[in-house]
Symmetry: C2
């Protein structure tokens, strides 16, 4: 194959377009697949290794990263990881209970979910910073999907369906990673995630007003209107004591955050904040015999480790669509959040994470989780940030958290049963306030109005409709934009920069000289069915707008990364339309893939090899000879 290419005829100077035989389909297909699924070419170092034993070792290290970092582990790293692990445990307990509450499942499930999954992630995860845990947005989304009715009718079934959906999530994430479909996550853009997080934060904040005001009857709907309506129709249930306590807790938590903000070294103050709230809350509730006075608490928490739950997975056809919907939607969101967060912290530390490996790790974490009474886990922002600040060095901090969690489950769990709901609400509210990224939204508004629109559609969609609609609208808009990019690719007219052989956009460089008799256009992006009509119209318009007589149309295809049948037919159509007007079409610098297709479909034969040039300058020089004697070509 290669020899075929290098021996192709080309002028001695190396100039001239390379019209060698196109590569065959299998070669092209393999190269395309590689680009699509293995852009980072992960197996290259492995396959280059001659020694079989080392090869096996490297493969193992690739698939199970713990084999890579554990042999290099030392006491100094352990010290940092120990510190970080204990810190994130102190966050994991209150967050676990709070988010389980948000998902309307027993609070102990939240604690279980911080025990098993961290061990799995420590084995397989490729990020050194990520801390495993449950997330607010997905917890709420789960309870929204399964709905209040089911919960009231059969709380056990409700819980089992959540385990099943966690299993589905795991399988889905694993499959995506295994088949290297990280590309799907790419379509959740940064703007969508910013808007979605902000919108979710708003609705979760409002949901917490239930806890803060101590309201018993509340709506399970999540949109702003329903929640505010429920809040004000149940004014009679408002309890000022509860509201006051909530406010105090919230002020306390916000001030610990403020301390962290001005003195980053004191991050542990903010990390311990929620634990303090829980402990103070428990103490108060215990001392004043809160439950007798109407203070709502978390309720009984049994000692003991995760019981197996594999026998509870239910694949009843009646609930399967619901389970799949919950599993896949939350899986996608959790994964996008986890990968994005893992990546941004890795960038700060100048490390790299592998999206597909992360997906496999998340997937196995959730599969095993669903067998051991855990629900959906991923890498939440708050925990990971605390982990990063605490100076974690390796995924060992997750192991430390798992061990601490085990101790909590074995000995301390019942202590937390006195936690008042108002305290949890304050913890959640404080976490949510940090997720509304005003600054980023304003930045988007200033730089890119469409990105801002995508962000706002997620934000308002989530707050006023529902979480899935908000997400769908926003992703839909992003996809429309991606399609618009290809459906309306920018074209521009080039002129010569004085005293050079460079040709640049005359709108961008007003000094560039247009050349009489020539229309030189630069096309960008692929030319294919979705934009060929547009490109034809646009080219013809450029020529129509010309005041002088046009003799040559130059199409600079340097920026055209691929072309399809419709695209080539369109270019031939343009040539046929211009032929009788005495305008000749010249193709400049078609890229590898484009030229191959042009040769295969006999496009080059039709327009003639002498009308294909390697650079604009060369084409101009060659055409200037013929300019005065130019005759219209017969069109094919």
């Amino acid at each position: 194959m290669e020899s075929d290419r290098t021996s192709s005829p080309s002028s001695p100077k190396g100039w001239g377009v390379n019209f060698s035989t196109p590569r065959n389909f299998v070669v092209k297909f393999r190269s395309k697949c590689k680009e699509t699924f293995f852009p980072d070419d992960p197996f290259k170092p492995i396959s280059q290794e001659p020694n079989g034993l080392i090869k096996t070792k490297k493969t193992l290290e690739y698939f199970v990263p713990i084999f890579e970092w554990l042999p290099k582990y030392n006491l100094q790293k352990l010290w940092y990881d120990l510190l970080a692990g204990v810190t994130i445990t102190s966050l994991a307990v209150p967050q676990g209970i709070s988010y389980a509450n948000l998902a309307s499942i027993p609070p102990i499930i939240g604690l279980y979910s911080s025990f098993v999954p961290p061990f799995v992630y420590a084995m397989l995860g490729s990020s050194n910073t990520l801390a495993v845990g449950t997330v607010a947005a997905c917890s709420l989304l789960i309870s929204e999907t399964f709905g209040e009715d089911l919960l009231k009718k059969d709380p056990n079934l409700y819980l089992h369906l959540i385990f099943t959906s966690t299993f589905i999530t795991g399988v889905f994430q694993f499959a995506l990673g295994f088949f290297r479909l990280g590309i799907l996550v790419d379509f959740l853009s940064h703007s969508t995630i910013t808007g979605f997080m902000g919108g979710t934060a708003i609705i979760i904040l409002l949901q917490q007003l239930k806890g803060v005001f101590g309201i018993v009857h509340f709506t399970h709907k999540t949109d702003v209107v329903s929640v505010l309506h429920a809040l004000f129709t149940h004014r009679d249930e408002w309890k000022w004591q509860s509201a006051l306590a909530g406010l105090c807790f919230l002020i306390f938590l916000q001030s610990t955050r403020y301390i962290k903000k001005i003195k980053p070294k004191l991050f542990w103050v903010s990390a311990m904040g929620p634990m303090v709230v829980v402990l103070v809350g428990c103490l108060v509730a215990y001392l004043v015999k809160g439950t007798e006075h109407g203070i709502q608490t978390v309720g009984p928490l049994k000692k003991g480790l995760n019981p197996p739950s594999i026998q509870y997975l239910t694949f009843d056809a009646k609930y399967l669509p619901l389970v799949f919907k919950a599993g896949i939607v939350t899986g996608l969101i959790a994964m996008a959040e986890g990968i994005a967060i893992g990546r941004s912290f890795a960038v700060m530390k100048n490390e790299q994470t592998d999206g597909n490996k992360e997906m496999i790790a998340f997937g196995l974490m959730n599969i095993i989780g669903s067998f051991t009474s855990c629900y959906l886990t991923t890498g939440p922002f708050s925990k990971t940030a605390v982990n990063y600040n605490a100076g974690t060095k390796t995924p060992m901090s997750n192991v430390v958290m798992g061990i601490c969690m085990m101790l909590v489950l074995l000995f301390l769990a019942p202590l937390f049963s006195y936690t008042p709901l108002v305290g949890l609400s304050a913890i959640i509210m404080s976490a949510m306030l940090g997720l509304i990224d005003y600054e980023e939204m304003y930045h988007l508004f200033k730089v890119d109005k469409f990105d801002f629109l995508v962000c706002m559609s997620a934000f308002f969609g989530v707050s006023f409709l529902s979480m899935d609609y908000g997400l769908i609208i926003s992703v839909g808009l992003s996809v429309v934009r991606a399609l618009l990019y290809v459906a309306r690719p920018s074209t521009c007219k080039l002129g010569r920069i004085q005293n050079s052989v460079m040709f640049r956009d005359i709108e961008q460089y007003p000094g560039a000289e247009e050349m009489a008799g020539y229309v030189i256009l630069q096309l960008g992006s692929p030319i294919f069915f979705a934009n060929s009509t547009y490109i034809r119209e646009r080219i013809l318009r450029w020529i129509r707008d010309e005041h002088e007589v046009v003799e040559f149309l130059f199409l600079d295809l340097s920026g055209v990364s691929s072309i399809d049948m419709t695209g080539m037919e369109t270019l031939l159509e343009v040539r046929r339309i211009l032929g009788p007007k005495g305008i000749k079409m010249v193709i400049i610098n078609p890229r590898f893939e484009v030229l191959e297709k042009m040769m295969l479909s006999h496009f080059v034969e039709k327009i003639g090899k002498e009308y294909v040039f390697l650079s604009i300058d060369e084409a101009v020089q060659s055409c200037q000879f013929n300019l005065s004697t130019a005759k219209p070509e017969p069109c094919s």
Copy 2:
């Protein structure tokens, strides 16, 4: 605005990147909208006209094209149009009856549909070749959508719902044209249409076996399996006389087509063929008193022009979803077919059609049609081809057809009531055989495997599932491909072509020299959320694959037509990753829109203006100075 740009600082020679102030949002937004919706800038000649009267005249001519061509009309053109009009009428009668039969509506509706709509199109249409009429695919799709049950329960309601769906189609097409959303039609690619037409032809062909074998009980399902099953379970109803007659008719029709193929001048033989079949069929059926001998005929056809049907439009909520589905799906297909066909014939005659104007014309044609007992019409391939061959000059041939049709309806309609169904089946089969474009499919297979896949998915989807699923799968695949184009844009490494300042793909031009210490990459297509992860991985891989020490990474952005926030952040991320390795990132020739955004988001400030160059050659020259003394820059 403009003066702001031209006075921007630039070196006296005109070189150097133009870092002038970005245009403001309104200017950019207007320019974007214009590119998206008015790529052909249709109002420019009108708005440039100073004289008010001429301006009004030009506007009128633009919107109602008959005002443009009628004043220039002469007797010679009339002669051609007369000939063409009569020829297409002879096709319109049998096709009208046949396709109405396919849609399970009274055959007279098919004749009505060739009377009113041609007049509307003649007023508003922009194609000189298109002949208006009903189409087989949409007729079948309509009957498939409304279904057998409804037809059996209430044939009147069935007919009224078809009028209503025609009305919806009209409104939809008009709206698309009015809001210049021709972009939607662009997503029905040539490959999809080829496959869809082929698949439809197959299922319509099979449906006709009912008529050919004279079967009474048959299925209304359209997929290949159901139809063949129905055919063979009703073997007892097969009539050999009918099959023999059908075969004779088919052979006759195919030989007229063959005559046309070898002697294009004798096109009228093939055009008259269907009419001959109908007349011979009528005569035989009349002479042998066919109906008494079990020959199925069309049945009573009343004399008289189209009765009004506006009072029958039913917007009953129960049927509305069905009506909308039928209206919009058939509207899209009919429009895509009509526009594609009008355009391909216009190209042959070196004329131009305006997609958006065509949509408005089709829309009004169907709206008025639905008020006057017509069903869905567009520009069918067979009629248009005959019209073209007959030498039509203007849309006047449609007027001639309309007048001929009026005469048929007023005086001759009852004659056709003896038409045997087997004759109609033969006519439809013969037409369908011409729609399976084997050659094109083979061509697609050779040139572009993905295009072939798109085509085949429509073909097999339509034949084995249903028409709408086939279409959806095929369009879905096309969209996935469009997204893949943007999600995995090709990047390539450039080398210097010997003795020149040109840099080209080293894979395409093996003679191009790589430069030690430099990695020069050309990026294509937009850089944005959907491909930024990929681009980052790919850039890092190019650098990892380098054997020598890399000091500079050049990113040639000439082919990058736009960038979003995520894209810019990705480039900064690449820079941060490479910084500590002593590799400096240099940006080459960012385009207008890209540079504007880079300035707005302070990207240029972050990387430094001195790292942005206008050409690779310039950047190389500037960097060669610093190469030996290069120090890693502090990364921001």
